[in-house]
Amino acid sequence: MRFADLFRFAAGGLRGHRLRTSLSVLGVGIGVASVILLTGLGEGAREYVTGEFASLGSNLLIVIPGKTETRGLAPLISVAPHDLTLRDVDALRERVPGISRIAPVAFGTATVKVGERGRQVLVVGTTREMLEIRHLKMATGRFLPRDVRDAPLCVIGARVQRELFPGVNPLGQIVRVGEWRFRVIGVIAPRGVSVGMDLDEVVEIPVETALRLFNRSSLFRVLIEVRSHGALPEVERAVIDVLRERHAGQEDVTVLTQDAVLSTFNQILGVLTAALAGIAAISLGVAGLGIMNVMLVSVSERTHEIGLLRAVGATARQVVGVFLVEAVLLSTLGGCVGVLTGLGAGQVLERIYPDFPVHAPVWAILAAIVVSGSVGLLFGMLPARQAARLDPVQALVGRRT
C-alpha cells in the first residue's frame, strides 16, 4: 500500500466525523498552546532579566560592604565591616589600573517636595560616572557635573518630573528633601524599571551630600566598570586586595560580577521554564487520553468497515496503519493549531506588556509538534491494535450502527 493512499484514507476517516475530529484537535491544541505559552513566558522572563543586566554593560563589578560568607558553618559570625568610603573609591581608582570608571552609590528613601506637592522617592547619591556606567540618557538639562561630590544640585526621573512639575519646565526649579533644598539641573529620559530600580522614580544628588542627608558614613555600594571583559577576574582580585589592605587586613566586602549574578538568574529561570513545560506536558497527556478515547469510539463505530477491509484483502498491519495514521494526523493537526494559538496569545500578551517579551523558543515549537505527533502515535496504538485484532467475520456481522 502506498503511503499517500494510507494518508488519504485516514484523512477521509477523520473528515467523516467533523465535530469529533475538531474537538480532539482542540484538546491537543490547548495542550500544545499551553506548552508554547508557558515556555514562552519562562523564556521571556529569562531574556528580560538578561537584557536588563546587559543594559548595565557587561564589564561591571559591584562592590557591597560586608562579607556574605557562603562557605563555612556559621554565617552569623560575620565581621563588622569597615565603612566603604569615598576615600576607598579614590584609592581603587588610583591603584587598580584595569578600572575605567567607578561610581560610588548611597541611597535612601525620602519625601521630595515642590511647594505643597510631595512624593516619596528613592534618593540616589552618586557621581557623574553613574551616567556613563548605566548608559543613562537625559531628557533635558544635564547630569551631575564631573568631580562634584557635594552640591545642592539634583537630577530627577521622568515620572518625578511629571508629578512634581506638571506642565512646568523643571530646570532651575527648587525641590526640598527634608530641610534641604536642591536645584534641578536635568531630567533623566524615561526608561522604566532597570534591575529592580525604577529609574523614572529617582532623584539623583551628589554622593557626599547624600551621605550627610542620610547621616551615613558608609557607601551603599560601588559600581566599577572594567576596561575589558577579560580583565574582570584580575580587577576583582585587585579590588579585594586594595580594600583588605585599607580595612586593616579584613576582607569585609563582597564583589559581585554581573556574570555570576546572571548565571544564577539563568539557572533559576531555566528551572522555572522546565517546570512550566512540565505542567503543560500534563495537559498534553490529557489530550492524548482524549485522542485514545476518540479513536476507540471510532474503532467500535467502524467495525463493519474494518471487517470489509479485511475481506477485500487488507492485512492486520494495514488496519493498524490506517488507525495509527488517523491518530497521528489528529494530534499533529492539534499540534499545529496549538502552536498558532500559543504564538498568537504570546503576541497579545506582548502587546499588553511590552516590557515583558514572551518568546517561545524554536525548540519548544518544534518539540510541541513532534511531541503531539508522538502523543497520537502512543495513544493511537491501543485502539489501532484493537481494530486489527477484530475477527473479520465478527466485525462484518457485528452490531450495525
Binding site: 476517516g13 468497515e305 470489509l308 477485500v312 492486520a316
Partner: protein, 238 residues
C-alpha cells in the same frame, strides 16, 4: 480449485460448544456455479466465510488451488483474499464516506495499485455493472440495487477466480434482486467460479449445483434437476 475434507467448525458459546459445521467434504471445480441452501442457523455463512479465508476451520483440510490454507500465515491469507476471492454481502458493506468509484478502488488501494491504473480499472468495473453515471455518487445517494452493484464491481475489480455471495438479494426487492442475479450469473458464464448462499429456493434452484445444509451437515449435494445423484459433479472426499 477448492477441496474441503472433514471440515469442522465449532464455536464456544458460554462454555458450550456450538458445532456450526460437521464433517463437511466438498470439491468445487473452477467455473462452477454452486448454491448453498438450508434453514437459518444451518451453517451456510460459516461455510462461506471458511471458503473465503475470513475464518479458519476447527479441524479438517481446506486446500485452495492445491495449497493447504491451514499452513498459510495471516499475511498469505490476506493476499489470497485480495487477489483470488471476491465477497458480496447481504448488507452491501460500502464505506459511506467514499463515492461508488472510491469503494470500487478500495481493494486496489490496499493492494498498492497506482492511482491512474486504479481509476481506469474502477471505471471498467463500474461500466461492467452499468453504473458509470453513478461513479461519483455516495452510497446514501444510491438505491439498494445500485449499492449491491457497486459491491459486485468492488468484488471483481481485482479479477478474482472465486466470487462468494452471502444472501446477495436478501435485502433487495425482487426486481433489483433479479438484476443482481443476472449480473453475477453473467460473470460466472465468463468463467468466474460462483458460490451463492441463499435461503430463497427460487434463487438456489438456478445454480447448476445445489448444496443443502442442515445443522452443519451437508445433507444433499446435487446437480440441478437430478435429485440424489452426483452425476458429473465431483463429490466427497478429496
Amino acid at each position: 480449485m477448492i477441496e474441503l475434507a472433514g471440515i469442522h467448525r465449532t464455536f464456544e458459546v458460554g462454555g458450550q460448544p456450538v458445532r456450526a459445521l460437521r464433517d463437511v467434504n466438498l470439491r468445487i471445480a473452477a467455473g462452477e456455479y454452486l448454491s448453498i441452501m438450508g434453514a437459518s442457523g444451518s451453517g451456510k455463512s460459516t461455510l462461506l466465510n471458511l471458503l473465503g479465508c475470513l475464518d479458519r476451520p476447527s479441524a479438517g483440510s481446506y486446500r485452495f488451488g492445491g495449497q493447504e490454507t491451514a499452513a498459510m500465515s495471516e499475511l498469505e491469507l490476506s493476499n489470497l483474499r485480495r487477489h483470488r476471492i471476491g465477497f458480496v454481502f447481504q448488507f452491501f458493506h460500502l464505506v459511506p464516506r467514499l463515492t461508488a468509484a472510491g469503494n470500487v478502488e478500495l481493494p486496489m488501494v490496499f493492494a498498492g495499485v497506482p492511482p491512474a491504473e486504479r481509476r481506469e480499472r474502477a471505471a471498467q468495473a463500474l461500466a461492467r455493472v452499468g453504473l458509470t453515471p453513478r461513479a461519483e455518487h455516495r452510497p446514501s445517494q444510491l438505491s439498494g440495487g445500485e449499492q449491491q452493484r457497486v459491491a459486485i464491481a468492488r468484488a471483481v475489480v481485482m479479477r478474482p477466480s472465486l466470487l462468494l455471495a452471502d444472501e446477495p438479494t436478501g435485502n433487495l426487492d425482487s426486481a433489483s434482486g433479479r438484476e443482481i442475479v443476472d449480473l453475477i450469473e453473467g460473470m460466472n458464464a465468463e468463467g468466474l467460479t460462483l458460490v451463492v448462499v441463499t435461503h430463497d429456493p427460487l434463487l438456489g434452484a438456478r445454480a447448476r449445483r445445489q448444496v443443502r445444509l442442515a445443522d452443519g451437515v451437508v445433507v444433499a449435494d446435487e446437480a440441478a434437476g437430478v435429485r440424489g445423484a452426483a452425476s458429473g459433479v465431483a463429490r466427497g472426499r478429496a
